[in-house]
């Protein structure tokens, strides 16, 4: 049943408390680090590529990597991921080539991927509307008797959308194995959280749906991992959905087309940058003796190479054939589809 005990409003933390997460050995800890670095590198390189005119407008996710990597590592390979545009590169953690995601941001049809192949749904651009998809998939898998779980990512602004409410409510009613993962970075472009809701917390909304709501430090990759793992276990065991509110602060512009200086608290941004999620985890791993300079260097270089290859492959792709506009909208297209194409 729904329960948001007062203590749950305190953010769950692992790194700052110097705790260790049960069941995570050095290999797993490093695998999570590798994912963090891959996402960080993807994001930082993408901003550069945008400035160089090599990709189009890009939604930056700098300092959101812990939420993405921590939660994905808590999933099984058969579990479905429903990203928003803020998680555009989350499929890299499932083997989607960097070039594919770069194509997407280059407006090239080669940026399409087969969601069923990676169990990563298409990037959802309109806010919150992927939540009912994830609820439907999770419910549909449950009806088939499979043990597949789904996770839907969305921001704090999305919790104001009807689609979030409808998806969350449906998931709870059907006891669908769904994790509703809210990356609360406290800004919906220029609208702060206090203009979005009067709720005590976003996790508190779970009470209204009859599901557990938990809050974690969104900059703490292991806290995110631990909270997601619990939610996944509950979902897989038939316990229904969970709302996870991961709290962070948007330390970068909403997108490359945005200049947040007009509205954001710049001192807070600087503070967040000093305390960003990759550095925190790096320091934690070094304290544990799991990460050293050589390994960190190797992981960073590996990620840089992935991006070098990715952009090279993306740029080597031939310009798309304009005839592609008629492809794929229908399995069985109507006969007059090309009417007017040749004048």
């Amino acid at each position: 049943m729904a329960k948001v005990a007062p203590e749950e409003h305190d953010l769950r933390r692992v790194l700052d408390e110097g705790r260790e997460v049960e069941g995570l050995g050095a290999d797993e800890l490093l695998a999570i680090y590798r994912s963090l670095i891959l996402l960080r590198t993807y994001d930082e390189r993408s901003v550069v590529y945008h400035r160089q005119g090599r990709i189009g407008t890009y939604a930056i996710f700098w300092n959101h990597e812990a939420m993405q990597a921590g939660s994905v590592h808590a999933l099984a390979a058969e579990d479905w991921i429903f990203p928003s545009y803020r998680e555009s590169a989350i499929g890299l953690l499932r083997g989607i080539p960097a070039s594919t995601v770069l194509h997407w941001w280059r407006g090239h049809p080669a940026g399409w991927w087969n969601p069923a192949q990676y169990r990563v749904a298409s990037i959802c651009v309109p806010i919150g509307t992927q939540v009912p998809h994830a609820a439907g998939l999770a419910w549909g898998e449950k009806l088939k008797g499979s043990s597949t779980v789904a996770i839907a990512y969305f921001g704090d602004g999305a919790t104001s959308e009807g689609a979030f409410h409808e998806g969350a409510n449906l998931a709870a009613v059907m006891q669908a194995p769904l994790i509703l993962f809210c990356n609360n970075n406290q800004w919906a472009i220029s609208t702060p959280l206090e203009a979005q809701t009067r709720a005590e917390s976003l996790a508190a909304k779970a009470v209204g749906y009859g599901m557990p709501g938990v809050r974690v430090d969104g900059g703490d990759v292991l806290a995110v991992y631990e909270a997601t793992r619990e939610a996944v276990e509950r979902a897989r065991a038939g316990g229904g959905p969970t709302l996870i509110e991961a709290v962070t602060y948007r330390a970068a512009p909403h997108a490359t087309a945005d200049d947040p200086r007009a509205y954001i608290d710049l001192d807070r941004v600087e503070e967040e940058k000093r305390n960003e999620c990759v550095g925190r985890y790096n320091a934690y791993l070094r304290r544990l003796g799991v990460l050293d300079d050589a390994t960190a260097e190797e992981i960073k270089n590996e990620a840089l190479e992935t991006m070098r290859q990715g952009i090279a492959e993306a740029e080597a792709e031939p310009e798309p054939d304009p005839e592609l506009v008629f492809d794929n909208a229908y399995v069985l297209p109507p006969p007059n589809l090309r009417e007017g194409w040749d004048g």
Partner: protein, 324 residues
Amino acid sequence: MAELFLVEAVNDALHIELERDDTVMVIGEDVGRAGGVFRATAGLRERFGENRCVDMPLAEAGILGSAVGLCMAGWRPVCEMQYDAFSYPCLDQLITHVGRYRWRTGGQMEFPLVVRMPYGGGVRAPELHDDSPEAYYVHTPGVKVAIPSTAADAKGLLAAAIRDPDPVVVLEPKLIYRGEKQEVPEGEHVVPLGQARLAREGTDVTLVAYGAMVPVCEHAADELEGEASVEVLDLRSLRPLDEDALLASAAKTGRVVVVQEAPRTAGFGAEIAAILAEKAILDLHGPVIRVTGFDVPYPYWKIEDRYMPSVERVAAAARKLLNF
């Protein structure tokens, strides 16, 4: 052949398709325990269980949005929208996802879902139980639209929609849900999308219509008996559209009246008129005339009869064209 009301033919199709394919499921508001407010889904829950005919939380966008996810999990959901105008919240999902998702996957996934709903006026109902929203749906790329006017077609088009690999919206004319019992083929019956039906053959003027306006046109043809030989073309599906049948009839009669109960501006009648202007101008003896609803909210029912295209208005339009 069975003698069924149109809504009973819908129910028959659902029973057959759920029996034939165990991935087909019905979801919607009040479709299970109540069997639908018009009884279109009656008996399905008892026959196929509560997981194949599901009473959903009252949220049209959530119903259609979850149907997208159900498709991804391998189901073929048939979503009932309780009434035409209640479907508007689902347009969000329809436009932003249903019509786009296959395209977005580079054609690698299919979304074989159906949205079916009772539509149209003339039933003495409160506001927002009377709309003809077909233009919204047919204007959405990636989505097909079918509208039966007979019981047999209600069964056959719905079966075709359920079996179609693309999303299909089926609008069922509630005005004639229980108009008269008609012959319906027993067992599996499929009417392919994109094939118009010549409801009546004639040589002087063509009345083009779909759904509840087809019987109105047939009555208008009766009214004009002795004055003119009237052809009535039932489009059956708006996308895919049977242009060949439309152009053939226009070539034969040279006069076309298009009838829709939806508001006039940018309605599907305008699309028919545009196609005829582009492709049949030399066949036509006069302008294409539209008989439509009006660009106002659907009126309260005390005055709805004057809004709805009537036999008299259709006949008058045909006479105007015959005397052009």
